[in-house]
Symmetry: C2
Subunit: 529 residues, 2 copies
């Protein structure tokens, strides 16, 4: 795409231009909290034992070119995606089948399910669920038809701890600022214009989502009457802390809502469930204060990775929160709805689950049209099992020729690396004919993102070269789970698109260029294509 | 004061309270650009060659107690001070006498004067002057009368490069935020309340001052028609850069005014005077752009220290700006008006200059009342010369007993250290009877600031102990110099108080406490006293 149609993007810089751009980028980012704590590899603990240093977040110097048609479509279908995942999270019967199937290969999913079952036995006391979702896409161009319009292909749908919403809006603002101060040298094409740099309201929108849940919780139910708060469940240490503080700051400043942070490992120490009240309100007792708060909403920025559950205490903590009256963002079922297996089932060619789930929410009138637009964003995904789709997948994956168009991804959350293209047949051979091992993987159509160039500034290093961008669209959804005979219906209370994120990383290791995985936060410069 | 009346301030913290306060202080500061670049002593150049790290600015954990009566008075008289210094800068005849007297001992002042003379010969083309002033005070309590009300005593009046206005408002906001999130443990006295933490609009107000000058400049006079800009004349490198960017960011964002930064050493390289236009407009040619700007206002954040003028080129650069049509903040005469010698002349007991100068500005109706309030802020200052005041001073300064109440300060700008109290007689003896050497010093009444305690966070280190606070009040003044027979009149176009700053530093070296000079930015917690 860009490398062919816009080969001169981004424009080359003279040393004066580069100095001006970089110094303004470095200063503006710190002035506006577009920062991270430096990694220990960059600044050792001995130099900064109190952890008071910060550094410009990894950023691109230029906004990356992105087809407007793709950007608009990704944003337009976000509310449909929100409803889809709310409906999936609401269908316990269906989730049970899937979880039971993958429980054999994925202990993490199995344990999450057990948490749900335990709360179910006792009875859920909170029927509201909040999703702060992010749907991630790459631009795909049919490799066999270069005249075809670019399309978006979903990489994954995040239902827990979707990050970078606090920084994404600031990167968009940074690139607009750099445009305003003429840090981008004028070029003949004039691609970087205010019109092509869309607003990004991720900070306000995600915070509004949390504030909406906070209000929907209602009044304090415990006694004595306590103030209400939102609890951020976080990792510790957390280098990406300013991303999270952008939201808590907004909640304090513009919504007047108290927020606190609790490290995952401290949940049981600092929170309790008030058992004398039938709804089981969650009480947070700040270690620094004599008073306590009732928690309206638990916002998980931790707890998504198996490594965070080293022992039973970690699982007890999750159960403890799940059975409380606090609105969870996300609930266990919503967390499970985001598993790769679900994505694969939805994206399996010939599946009709999309229509089935979208029909569950009353807000969408034209289910078929929405389902078809969502389906158009799927890269085909196949299980490696004994189903017809699975047998077809096995034939593709073991073919030295056809495997080139696919990637093999582990089912297990947070488990291992992807296997690409023609390396797949040999890898599958190494698994032998152990059916269980094969079922641990999903075969996915490779997305062919266009060739782009950009310059990434990360930890003080500047690297230019070929990059790949991944667009994330945030979505906020607050819903009420159905009850009794309507128990697989969900009532959508709030549903909106909530800003976007472009992440850009080095395409592959190049001598002197952007190393693969040299990731950064970026913004879009929209192009007509 | 506080140590006696409020001995329990600031409150002691448990380790949980301290952890909560510090982590929020560290995070909020970076989120909001309340930062500095770390010094090379903290982070070496090898670790961060691109200079992309930042650190929380040196801050106090708590707002320091400050008598409300002193705070209110300091703010109330700022517009009077603004007019006073505008009038002094407008009285070339008077300045000439003083400069000629101190030229023998202060080459820097002499050279600044020569720049003025050179422009005067050619003819000034800009009759507007902008002052972004800061008047610094300490609280003084009469050591012989502990029942007396605390009063403010002026330490100095800054007419050039008054710094920290960009950070001061943010420290006030930080302490308010820490109050809001209950990071200050509740105490019986309840001193830290929203009511006692005044608003601080230094960022908006100082930026508004620059914007006012920018507008008052009028239209572009050079051809071809150029966009207008404000030029920040800066030091390089500058660790306190976010202080300056807070203002430039406000000018861009809320006034739509382009600002650029030019290192003092690059003035002649990047600016030129368009000589074909009689008013000599100043043209700035950004090295990164093909286009150029006409400069409405030169805002000096450099050029105030003799060390910045190592050679004739540096003086040529100052002359170059001074003779241009840009409004200078400050002009050479305004810069000179801020010299210590002027402060000393105003504060010499029995001087009537205050009334004389205040009568020059038409805005003040009751000159006598304003003069008397301003005079009440002076610590007595004496020349060490052959005048009656000088002879009196010599007798005080050489007395082993009476010298205890004084400090000896060098006249020369940026020259050497102060000599305190009973060390003065021996020091003067070491000068011999060289009259010129004696004239290089001013004898000033020692200000007796109250004992306070606070905790300072600086470069990741936390130190608690006795501290001294210095309140700065910012003032903005835009005036038009008189012409012809009104040439010593000034017409005040804009005059307002522009926020405040509390700087707090260790009172003296204490084992494990706040080391002397361990300075920080603070905010006031007002107390009735």
């Amino acid at each position: 795409m860009a490398a062919t149609i816009y080969p001169d993007y981004p424009p080359a810089l003279t040393s004066d231009q580069s100095g001006y751009l970089l110094s303004n980028l470095k200063d503006w980012s710190i002035l506006n909290g577009l920062a991270v704590r430096p990694s220990p590899a960059f600044v050792s603990r001995e130099i900064d034992p109190s952890g008071s240093l910060a550094v410009t977040a990894p950023l691109t110097l230029f906004p990356s070119l992105f087809p407007r048609v793709c950007f608009d479509e990704a944003r337009a279908i976000q509310t449909g995606y929100n409803e889809l995942y709310a409906a999936i999270a609401g269908d316990e019967t269906w989730l049970k089948e899937i979880v039971e199937e993958i429980a054999q290969v994925d202990e993490f999913i199995a344990k999450l399910w057990q948490v749900h079952l335990a709360v179910k036995r006792e009875g859920y006391t909170q029927d509201l669920s909040l999703g702060l979702f992010r749907s991630d896409y790459m631009v795909h161009r049919d490799p066999l038809n270069s005249a075809a319009e670019p399309q978006i292909r979903q990489v994954e749908f995040n239902t827990i701890a979707s990050s970078f919403g606090g920084l994404a809006a600031k990167v968009s603002a940074l690139h607009r600022h750099l445009l305003q101060i003429q840090a981008f040298p004028p070029t003949q094409l004039d691609l970087i214009t205010a019109n092509n740099l869309p607003d990004n309201l991720s900070v306000q929108s995600l915070s509004r989502g949390l504030a909406t849940a906070h209000k929907a919780y209602g009044n304090c139910v415990s006694e004595p009457n306590r103030p209400l708060c939102i609890l951020f469940i976080v990792q510790s240490p957390e280098n990406n802390i300013f991303d999270q503080h952008a939201l808590s700051n907004e909640l304090w400043t513009n919504h007047g809502i108290p927020t606190f942070r609790v490290a995952y490992g401290n949940i049981l120490r600092h929170t309790s469930v008030a058992h004398s009240f039938p709804t089981r309100p969650l009480i947070y007792s700040p270690p620094n204060l004599p008073s306590s708060y009732e928690v309206t909403t638990c916002y998980f920025r931790a707890g998504y990775s198996p490594a965070e559950y080293p022992d039973d205490t970690a699982w007890s903590a999750r159960l403890h929160l799940e059975r409380s009256a606090a609105i969870k963002c996300p609930s266990i079922l919503t967390h499970l709805a985001g598993s790769k297996k679900i994505q694969q089932i939805l994206a399996t060619p010939s599946s009709t689950y999309l229509e089935r789930f979208l029909a569950r929410s009353r807000a969408i009138s034209d289910t078929t049209a929405v389902a078809s637009r969502i389906r158009a964003t799927f890269a085909a995904m196949y299980p490696l099992d004994s189903s017809p789709a699975g047998r077809h997948a096995a034939s593709l994956a073991t073919s030295p020729h056809e495997s080139a168009a696919y990637v093999l991804k582990p089912q297990r959350e947070g488990g291992g690396n992807n296997i690409y293209g023609t390396k797949i047949p040999a890898f599958l051979k190494s698994l032998g004919d152990d059916e269980l091992k094969w079922k641990g993987y999903v075969l996915m159509e490779l997305i062919e993102p266009p060739s782009l160039r950009n310059t990434i500034f990360r930890n003080g290093e500047v690297k230019s070269g070929e990059v790949i961008g991944e667009l994330g669209v945030y979505g906020v959804c607050l819903w009420r789970n159905g009850k009794d005979k309507h128990k697989d219906k969900v009532e959508i209370l709030e549903n909106f698109e909530a800003g976007h994120l472009l992440r850009t990383k080095g395409r592959e290791s190049e001598e002197g260029g952007v190393a693969a995985g040299f990731g950064s936060v970026d913004s879009v410069c929209l192009i007509e294509i």
